[in-house]
């Protein structure tokens, strides 16, 4: 059931990268998107492990695409986010937004909580 599925930070990033790339989401492009956008240089092995896991959870679906000469005649595997995947992202974002509510990061030092006056080291 979608309600029971929680996603980790890496899964969150990969799902968002797939969403951003829309029709062009395959291994190399997802890797490049993560490197360009969040400076995360994932190895192809780590990326495919995450993609496989998300597919098993039903948050992604995939299809084989065309084979090109620069790929040595090998087909691309395109990924697309499922409705469950979108729900999981939405839920994760809402949870993070709720947790961040009322908190502000002071640059380089600590997290401030305006109401109760408690401070936590960052």
């Amino acid at each position: 059931m979608a309600q029971d599925k929680f996603i980790g930070e890496m899964e969150h990033m990969v799902l968002l990268a797939v969403l951003r790339l829309n029709e062009q989401a395959y291994g190399s492009q997802i890797r490049q998107c993560l490197a360009d956008t969040v400076d995360r240089d994932l190895s192809i092995g780590a990326l495919y492990t995450t993609l496989e896991r998300l597919e098993q959870k039903g948050l992604l679906k995939s299809r084989l695409g065309e084979a090109t000469a620069e790929r040595g005649g090998r087909a691309k595997k395109y990924f697309a986010i499922t409705a469950e995947g979108q729900q999981a992202l939405h839920r994760s974002k809402q949870a993070l937004d709720r947790l961040w509510q009322g908190l502000a990061l002071r640059q380089g030092a600590s997290v401030t909580v305006p109401q109760n006056g408690m401070e936590f080291p960052a």
Binding site: R31, A35, S43, I44, Y48, A69, G72, R74, K77
Partner: protein
């Protein structure tokens, strides 16, 4: 200084000057555009079947981009990706193989350690080339002779990939191969020890008894040691074959 991922990718995109502006030639890629062959073979061995095409294709695509700047750094990048990919998939696809190899390496390692500890002054006491030749090639030849060369190939393929499905009769043949090899090794060990005992008894005199009996007996027992070692390894391999055959037949019956 470490180059960040985005910097590198931006550099790649901006420095893209295709070697083949009119497009890549059809057919197999020219050798200059091929990534290291060993890495490709390793990836094909480690990756699950369903992922071989997309992963190797993605790596190839990025390798071509990178090697426009420097072939050497592109090769190192490819090797790094290979190691990382193997690390992520080895336990998933080759877990059976890994455990079998680890158990054998552990047995060999612990035996070598025991030999070293028992005689630290001269650990080469346990090495005798003639005894090795008497046991290992002979046992292998007996096994091939009693089965077939094809069974040897199947046995090697099984050791490289125990999880691969095969017909029940193939498992029986592979098991038979390991049984013959192990038994032959042990029997050859006894036989060679007897040769040594006869030679010792024949050359023994009252004068040289104290000086030569101990070392000569130790050398003649080495064949028995090697034979027992090989028998142990073959026993484990044969048990692995039986286990895999049972697992596969159970899976087949579950799938109907």
């Amino acid at each position: 200084m470490k180059q960040s991922g985005s910097e590198h990718h931006t550099k790649l995109t901006s420095a893209k000057r295709p070697l083949y502006p009119e497009g890549l030639p059809s057919g197999p890629l020219p050798p200059a555009l091929q990534p290291p062959l060993l890495c490709q073979l390793l990836l094909e061995w480690v990756l699950p079947d369903a992922l071989q095409e997309p992963v190797l294709g993605d790596l190839q695509e990025e390798f071509i981009e990178r090697q426009q700047q420097s072939r050497s750094s592109a090769c190192w990048w490819y090797r790094g990706q290979t190691v990382s990919t193997c690390w992520h998939f080895l336990h998933q696809t080759k877990g059976d193989w890994l455990m079998l190899v680890l158990s054998m390496v552990f047995f060999i390692g612990i035996s070598l350690w025991a030999m070293f500890v028992s005689n630290p002054a001269d650990p080469w006491t346990y090495y005798d080339f003639v005894s090795l030749v008497l046991i290992f090639p002979s046992a292998l030849l007996f096994a091939v002779g009693a089965t077939s060369r094809r069974t040897l190939q199947q046995a090697v393929a099984f050791l490289m990939n125990p999880g691969a499905a095969a017909e029940p009769v193939v498992y029986q043949q592979i098991r038979h191969f390991f049984d013959v090899m192990g038994q032959s090794a042990l029997l050859l060990g006894f036989f060679s020890t007897l040769i040594g005992v006869v030679a010792i008894a024949n050359a023994m005199t009252a004068e040289n008894f104290a000086a030569s009996f101990g070392p000569a007996t130790a050398v003649c027992l080495l064949t028995l040691l090697y034979g027992s070692g090989l028998k142990t390894l073959c026993y484990v391999a044969a048990q692995k074959v039986s286990f895999t055959a049972r697992e596969n037949s159970r899976n087949d019956s579950v799938l109907g």
